[in-house]
C-alpha cells in the first residue's frame, strides 16, 4: 500500500491575494469604462449629426462587452481571481447606496417590498417546483432553480448547495441559467417599463422583485433610470435578507427525506446565511438620515457607489457563460425560462397593483 504524501500548501498572504486580483480588476475597469465611453460616444455622435439615436446606458454596454469577451475569446485564467471580486464591488456599492436613502424611505419602501417579496417567494417557488416536476427535472436541480428564482440567483444557490447536498454540476447550471435569463431581462424589462409608462419607483421595485441576480436587478433598474436603479437595489436587498429562511426551509425538507444533513442550530444557520451587507446599508442610511454627511458628501458617496457598480456590471457580463447551459441540455433551461416568464408576469401584476395603492 502506498502512502499518500500530503504537500502542505502555503496559504497566500493578503498582499499576494490582492496582487493576484489586480489583472482581473483592471479588466473589469477597462470593460466598465469602455461601456461608459460607448454611451458617451453614441450620445455625442447623435448630437453632432442631428440623428435621434436611442440612449443606451453604459450598464448595457458594459454587460454586453463582458458577455462578448466571455463567450468568444473566453476569460484567461490570470483574470479570474480579479473578476471574482465583482461580488465585493456589488456589496460595497449597495452599502454606499444607503447614503441616498433616508431611513424613513427605507422602512416605507422596504415594508412594501417585504410584503411583495413574501408573495413573490411563494409564487416563484410554487411555479418553479410545478414546472420542474412537469418536465421531470432532477429534484435537487429543481430546488436550486426554485431557490435561485425566488431569492437571488447566485448567492442563494451558493448558500443552498451545501445545505441540501446538491451536485456541483447542478449548481453551475442553475447559476448559468439564472445569469443568462437575467441578461435577457436587462434588455426586455426596460422596454416593457417604458411601454407601460411605469414610474421610476414602480419599475425599480419590479426589477428588484423579478430579476434574480442582485447585480442584474440593479443593472436593469439603472438602464431604466438612475432613480429606478437605486430603488431596485433596495427592493433586491430586502429580498436577499430572506435568503436564510428559504434555504433553511429547503435544508429541513431534504434532511427530513434523509438526503441532506440535519440543521442542528437553526438560529446560527439563519445568521450565517443572512447577507451582512444589508446591515451596512442600513447603518449608512441611518447616518445619512441623522445628517452625518453634507450634500456634497452624499454625492461623493453615491458616486463611489456608482463606480463600484460599474465594476460589478462588467463582472456580470464576464461571468455569464452560455456554454455552461449546453452541458445539461435544453430541458432545464426551458424550465427556468418558462418559470421566469411566469414570475415576470405575476410580479408585474403585483407591482402595478401596489403602485396604484401606495402611489409608487
Amino acid at each position: 500500500m502506498s502512502e499518500a504524501v500530503i504537500v502542505p500548501v502555503r496559504p497566500l498572504g493578503l498582499g499576494e491575494r490582492v496582487a493576484r486580483t489586480l489583472p482581473g480588476i483592471l479588466l473589469l475597469a477597462t470593460v466598465g469604462l469602455a461601456g461608459k465611453a460607448a454611451e458617451q460616444f453614441l450620445r455625442d455622435y447623435g448630437k453632432a449629426h442631428h440623428v435621434a439615436l436611442p440612449n443606451i446606458e453604459y450598464v448595457l454596454w458594459a454587460i454586453l462587452f463582458g458577455l462578448v469577451i466571455a463567450n468568444t475569446v473566453g476569460v484567461a485564467g490570470i483574470f479570474r481571481p480579479g473578476i471574482a471580486t465583482y461580488d465585493f464591488w456589488l456589496k460595497a456599492g449597495i452599502v454606499l447606496l444607503g447614503a441616498r436613502f433616508l431611513l424613513g424611505d427605507v422602512l416605507r419602501l422596504g415594508g412594501i417590498s417585504l410584503g411583495l417579496v413574501a408573495i413573490e417567494l411563494a409564487v416563484a417557488i410554487a411555479i418553479m417546483t410545478f414546472v420542474g416536476k412537469a418536465f421531470h427535472l432532477k429534484p435537487k436541480l429543481t430546488s436550486l432553480l426554485a431557490i435561485g428564482s425566488s431569492i437571488c440567483g447566485v448567492s442563494a444557490i451558493i448558500a443552498a448547495k451545501p445545505a441540501i447536498d446538491a451536485d456541483d454540476d447542478d449548481a453551475t447550471f442553475a447559476i448559468a441559467a439564472i445569469l443568462a435569463l437575467g441578461a435577457f431581462g436587462l434588455f426586455a424589462y426596460p422596454l416593457i417599463g417604458h411601454w407601460l409608462h411605469m414610474s421610476d419607483r414602480a419599475f425599480g421595485v419590479w426589477a428588484g422583485l423579478a430579476v434574480d441576480n442582485t447585480a442584474e436587478a440593479i443593472a436593469a433598474g439603472s438602464v431604466y433610470s438612475d432613480a429606478a436603479g437605486k430603488i431596485a437595489g433596495l427592493t433586491k436587498s430586502t429580498r436577499n435578507a430572506m435568503i436564510g429562511f428559504v434555504v433553511l426551509a429547503y435544508a429541513v425538507y431534504w434532511a427530513s427525506r434523509g438526503k441532506a444533513h440535519t440543521v442542528s442550530n437553526k438560529a446560527a444557520f439563519l445568521w450565517q446565511k443572512f447577507p451582512k451587507f444589508v446591515l451596512g446599508f442600513l447603518l449608512i442610511s441611518l447616518l445619512a438620515t441623522v445628517g452625518a454627511f453634507s450634500g456634497p458628501q452624499v454625492t461623493d458617496l453615491a458616486n463611489v457607489s456608482r463606480w463600484a457598480f460599474l465594476l460589478t456590471f462588467a463582472g456580470v457580463g464576464l461571468k455569464t457563460d452560455f456554454r455552461e447551459l449546453k452541458k445539461q441540455g435544453m430541458r432545464p433551461f426551458v424550465v427556468g425560462a418558462l418559470a421566469e416568464l411566469s414570475i415576470t408576469v405575476v410580479t408585474l401584476g403585483l407591482v402595478l397593483g401596489a403602485a396604484a395603492i401606495f402611489q409608487l
Binding site: 456589488l90 452599502v95 447577507p275 451582512k276 458617496l301 463611489v304 463606480w307
Partner: protein
C-alpha cells in the same frame, strides 16, 4: 489535517471598505469623486 484559517466573509469586507470610504469622505480626507 490542520484546520483552515477562518476567512472573513466577503460581505464583511464590503461593509468595512464602504464604512472606511464613508469615514474618509466625512473627515474630508478623500478627494471629490466625480461620476
Amino acid at each position: 489535517m490542520s484546520p483552515q484559517p477562518k476567512r472573513i466573509p466577503i460581505d464583511w469586507w464590503a461593509v468595512i471598505a464602504a464604512l472606511g470610504v464613508a469615514v474618509l469622505v466625512k473627515l474630508h480626507l478623500a478627494p471629490h469623486i466625480p461620476w
